[in-house]
Assembly symmetry: C2
Homo-oligomer: 193 residues x 2
DNA sequence: CCTACCGATCGGTAGG
DNA sequence: CCTACCGATCGGTAGG
């Protein structure tokens, strides 16, 4: 277990950033959650923004991995565009439901990042959204999906999916997987011919 | 034109709260947008939180009015559950697209309100969401809408709708009304039998 | 990882 | 609506 402390800081910060927002969370808030003095955090991180970036960067990678895996599985099973879309939605929803702090900070706190980091994260978000748009456009080309503006459909779906982080309780009566199935169903119905 | 200055403050604050968030926006930021000194704001408002509450309270009323109007129109025309749902979605989407600052602050900054104000706003949000759930449940009872958990369907739709504030440009190639039509279409398709 | 401390900025008040 | 100012808190550093 190397870098455990650093990880603890990121986990505690994710929870605080999610519930209070980055700007309203002080370095001392994060330290207190770990029973440290505020200044002691700086033995492990260079700045508050560094902690935010680490979280957001990790979140971006998780979403990219989930998308890649969903697409690879769809390729391997040679499924149609409808099932490909469903498995992407399922993957995204599952990730948000399982790690709402990560997803919520990724979705809303990136604007507190400085210039380069911010644009790098935005570029990755755009690329992700672009992949989803392409899947939707492909489905329209084969006639499996109804004709709509793929950009609008993608924005519609991503907002719905990311919204899960705002209300889903992982310890509630509904499992992340069940939730993901419902969302995939709603998404497919919304877009299928 | 009474209370113009007060209104200007709220408008400037909405824009700043939307783009930077409430916590990252200082009283002096708001004042600067109006060419005032920071302390001068306090001739018009009692506190920074007061400004936030005024915005969020106004936003809540706007959404309540829009919902009421959509339901009244549906009642007057005796339309079915499908068209009733469509007109509610259209009304909500139009409002978010026309006033993204108001909608975005309402959707995300309420947590910076203190105890009573916060719970009052949350109660109104819950009531609004409850109305949407009821419309969905009614549509399922008549067989116009497919059987799903109305709470999940409502959360799905509201997240998608509120997400509009995050990307829609009122001066872009798509009008608020066209956007609203697309969203109503997606919503109806997602839920219809 | 702590104590001690820094300059900057915060929301807000006094008094005009 | 302004100037002058307040105590509190902010992110971060020095030195151990």
């Amino acid at each position: 277990m190397i870098e455990t402390r650093r990880r603890q800081i990121e986990v505690a910060a994710s929870e605080l950033f999610r519930s209070q927002g980055y700007a309203a969370t002080s370095v001392r808030d994060i330290a207190r959650a770990l029973d440290l003095q505020g200044a002691s955090l700086y033995s492990h991180v260079a700045s508050k923004e560094d902690v935010l970036f680490a979280i957001v960067d990790r979140a971006a990678s998780r979403f990219e991995d989930a998308l890649r895996a969903a697409e690879a599985a769809a390729d391997a099973n040679a499924v149609g565009p409808l099932e490909r879309l469903a498995s992407i939605v399922r993957a995204h929803a599952t990730l948000v439901a399982r790690e709402p702090e990560l997803a919520s900070v990724f979705a809303t706190e990136w604007r507190h990042l400085g210039g380069e980091r911010r644009s790098s994260i935005l570029a990755r978000r755009d690329a992700y959204e672009g992949r989803l748009r392409a899947v939707i456009a492909d489905g329209m080309a084969t006639g499996d999906l109804a004709m709509t503006d793929p950009a609008i459909a993608a924005a519609f779906l991503l907002s719905a999916l990311n919204g899960i982080a705002g209300w889903f309780r992982p310890d509630g009566r509904l499992s992340a997987e069940d939730l993901a199935d419902r969302y995939a169903d709603l998404a497919v119905r919304a877009l299928a011919t």
